[in-house]
Symmetry: C2
Subunit: 163 residues, 2 copies
DNA sequence: CGTTCGCCGTTAGTGCCACTAACGGTGTCG
DNA sequence: CGACACCGTTAGTGGCACTAACGGCGAACG
């Protein structure tokens, strides 16, 4: 009981569905992605641009494969992202003299300015995303997400499930 | 404080990225979706099957458009879902005598059995998904997700931002 | 020294999903 | 009757995660 909450927004979505964390995650992420993508598009950027620029700023230059690992963007997709960033002169792509397999990606001054701008944009967007939560709840939310994500990151181990 | 948690899994992902709720959501949802999809695939089902069956069970028969609204599945995609469910004889699709525009979708006995099975499967999968959280935290998590989703559901109104 | 193995960047393509556009068939309202 | 809205359907778009395969290069080993 008491779980009635506001019975208004309920078009007739069964509780079975409404309470499933996986469904809540999917739907919320769809909306979150749209919010963020639209917001970044208005600034002529995409999520991946931010991820790469942030990684370069915080951890220095790196090969495309390294960036791929740092950001979670797939190797195959990284090519295009670097292309776009290069077009906009936010990064530079140069062959690594020390290892001629690699392209060394470096953030430019312009890229740093852009990153600062995108950080502001994202702050605003997240404020909108998390609007209904107070600060303590936002922290709580991020903590829970982080714990879940850590748990499901790679290494499925052979944790349990003897067999 | 204390938010340090295990500093291990950090390959070198910048804090800027790690702490962004939108990113945590995206990544966690990717993993969650994979978990759920794989699990359901093993039972010859998909998320959409469950959504439709649950909606039919809890709210009775309905037109495809109604199901679309109840489940959040797009009208265009609903066709194929009903096709698949019909193939498996989990639902029946019949023209609505009262309104010849409509197809009335009804769940079959077999569909009800299937739904019960899928509920079990999903229970297990969610247990895996939420493994690192205790019951109170799971509830908290679901509550936060629900509040956020409600806030971002449809009707952006003209809340603020005049123009 | 040469062979094997692995990583690197790149291209092409797959599948899922949310979403748009357009169509003909059908009901409703004025 | 005519305008309009809804219904189911088809086709197609774009983003994203992911796979497969390739040639270029480096490192390790015998």
């Amino acid at each position: 009981m008491g779980a009635m909450s506001r019975a208004e927004a309920t078009h007739g979505v069964p509780d079975r569905l409404r309470g499933r964390a996986s469904r809540l995650l999917s739907q919320l992420t769809t909306r979150s992605d749209r919010l963020i993508n639209d917001g970044l598009a208005r600034a002529d950027a995409r999520k991946w641009h931010y991820a790469v620029l942030a990684s370069l700023q915080d951890h220095g230059p790196g090969s495309q494969a390294a960036l791929s690992r740092r950001t979670g963007i797939y190797r195959s997709d990284m090519v295009g992202v670097i292309d776009e960033l290069t077009e906009r002169q936010l990064v530079e792509r140069a062959p690594d003299p020390a290892d001629r397999r690699r392209n060394l990606i470096t953030i430019s001054a312009r890229g740093r300015r852009r990153l600062r701008r995108l950080d502001d944009v994202l702050d605003e967007l997240h404020d909108e995303l998390l609007a209904p939560l107070d600060q303590a709840e936002r922290d709580q939310f991020v903590t829970l997400l982080t714990r879940l994500l850590d748990h499901h990151s790679d290494a499925p181990d052979r944790a349990d499930g003897g067999s």
